[in-house]
Amino acid sequence: MAGLELKQLRKSYGKVEVIKGVDLSIEHGEFVVFVGPSGCGKSTLLRMIAGLEDITGGELVIGDKVVNAVEPRDRGIAMVFQSYALYPHMTVYDNVGFGLKLARTPKAVRDQKIRDAARILQMEHLLDRKPSQLSGGQRQRVAIGRAIVRQPEVFLFDEPLSNLDAALRVDMRMEISKLHNDLDATMIYVTHDQVEAMTLADKIVVLDGGVVQQVGSPIELYKHPANLFVAGFIGSPKMNFVAVNADKVSGDTVNVSGPDVVGVPVALPAGKVRPGDKLTLGVRPHDLVVATSGAIVGRVGLVERLGNETIVNLELPSGASWLAVLDGDQALKRGESLALDVDPAKALLFDANGLAVAAA
């Protein structure tokens, strides 16, 4: 059974370092999602685990073996590509069985395994087709089938759903999740879509600039982002930020004010900040509520009325723009003035370095 251990993993192309020392440990059976904006190094990291990229520095352990110099085929992994990478000249049957054929698996065994995988993915009727005759979702299944049939210790997914339309993506997401439960395998999944990350992951690894920003469960990341980057990246719509100064520190509450906000209270253990500190206040759009005279006042811009909730674009005095997601249907007019309040327990503060001023 295979967990993974990444120790100070580094990758550089010539002088450019793209993975700057990643430490991470993944338990067996965990579903881990690497998430981050494009160019953050998440795919590179995945490909290093797969063995498709050489490791410049550090150690990669799969199971109990250092695999830096081990060929991909001997790492006990399988990978699903964003483009599916189905072999266009082979039928679905041959695509799925290609790895087994290379491993010189006896024909009967091979056939059994291919048919098992096809049954699991409900694509038995597709086995004789060529990839060009398949729809996007079907290709996705074949790609997964090709991975399953190898019975790997670790599944690697490289943005597998990004080429599918929205509805199909939801379906496939559920299937992958179900597969994870059924197969009891370790899965590492790369995506730039934080919704996928939130819904699928046991553990999310947020990457930016080749550096791990935070590792944790989805809710942990949502509630307690370690820094501005994670706070902004996780959650949809994006968290609102505004520059503030600490006014008054009293007990476990800090009052902060800035050009756009007046006296917002934030729950915080004593001693974390001192009056006059320059901070950044972060509030999720869902945590704003309408008040008669709130801490935050702005002019209503675009209003999206979705019935169950209303998304308001608010222009603050400084010109900055915030989003608020308000419960129920709110008949707001463009141009009118709106005041909002913040729940002190849900507001977050970040210091001048962008690190969270931790609540606990």
Binding site: L52, A85, H89
Partner: protein, 275 residues
């Protein structure tokens, strides 16, 4: 109305290409049907008698059935050298397109140089002598491979670039060794450009005249183009036999063409054009 212009245009094009491209071939065929006296006039006239079969027999029988030997030799040279060319050039084109090293510049320069530099005949003969390859089919095959590699490599390199790298990587993850990746995944996908290579190179090698002339002396080694020499001599010319000969040696390229006709464009699409 649009339909009519296309039909008119088509008819005009058919007429024009008939005059420009087809009539010369009809001329060759007519000449091949004539007897020696009539053919000496070299005019576009109906043969006074049908001597085609006699001409063919005479051409084939000349110099101890040299035509038969020549067809066998040319076929061997063409098939073997095109096979080697396809495999070796695809291997080079593949690695050249996939792997960026500081050698790439040099390799690309050498490839381009091979396209441009005219081969040095006599030093090559000496070398072949030293290798005991002079005047052998093996030697000729290797020469054809060497001289035609650059063009094939360029075609392949351009085409490989259009094959997603993901496929190689999927195969690697599936447990493929480099040779598996190449022969089982990449080479089959290179089929369109392979067809282009087969057509262009086999025709070029089959029609090669100068190189066998130098590197493949000897009756037993005659190639089809050299048979033209039997009839086009300095002293006298038998036009009916000459054109019968041209006609006969055009048949194999014609077969290749009919076989691959539809696929030629496909190979060019991704291959040459994106070069």
């Amino acid at each position: 109305m649009k339909k009519r212009t296309s039909i008119l245009g088509g008819a005009a094009a058919i007429a024009a290409t008939f005059v420009v491209f087809v009539i010369p071939f009809i001329f060759i065929i007519l000449m091949a049907f004539k007897d020696r006296q009539q053919s000496a006039l070299r005019d576009f006239s109906w043969p006074t008698g049908f001597h085609f079969w006699e001409n063919v027999v005479e051409v084939v029988k000349t110099r101890n059935w040299m035509m038969i030997t020549a067809f066998i030799n040319s076929s061997i040279i063409t098939v073997v050298s095109v096979t080697l060319l396809v495999i070796f050039a695809a291997m080079v084109g593949y690695v050249l397109a996939r792997r960026k090293t500081r050698w790439n510049g040099l390799i690309e320069f050498l490839v381009l140089a091979g396209l441009m530099v005219p081969p040095a005949v006599v030093p090559t003969i000496w070398l072949l002598q030293g290798l005991k390859l002079f005047g052998t089919l093996h030697g000729m095959i290797l020469i054809e491979v060497a001289y035609n590699l650059p063009f094939s490599i360029i075609l392949y390199r351009a085409f490989v670039a259009t094959i997603p790298r993901d496929l190689d990587e999927a195969a690697i993850i599936d447990g493929a060794r480099p040779l598996d990746v190449f022969f089982r995944v990449v080479l089959p996908l290179l089929w369109p450009v392979t067809v282009t290579n087969i057509v262009v190179q086999s025709v070029g090698i089959f029609n090669d005249f100068t190189n066998p002339l130098y590197y493949l002396p000897g009756n037993a080694n005659a190639t089809v183009q050299l048979t033209l020499y039997n009839f086009q001599s300095q002293f006298s010319t038998a036009y009916n036999l000459l054109f019968t000969n041209i006609l006969l040696i055009t048949i194999p390229p014609l077969l290749v063409f009919m076989f691959f006709n539809r696929q030629i464009v496909a190979g060019m699409t991704a291959g040459a054009v994106k070069g």
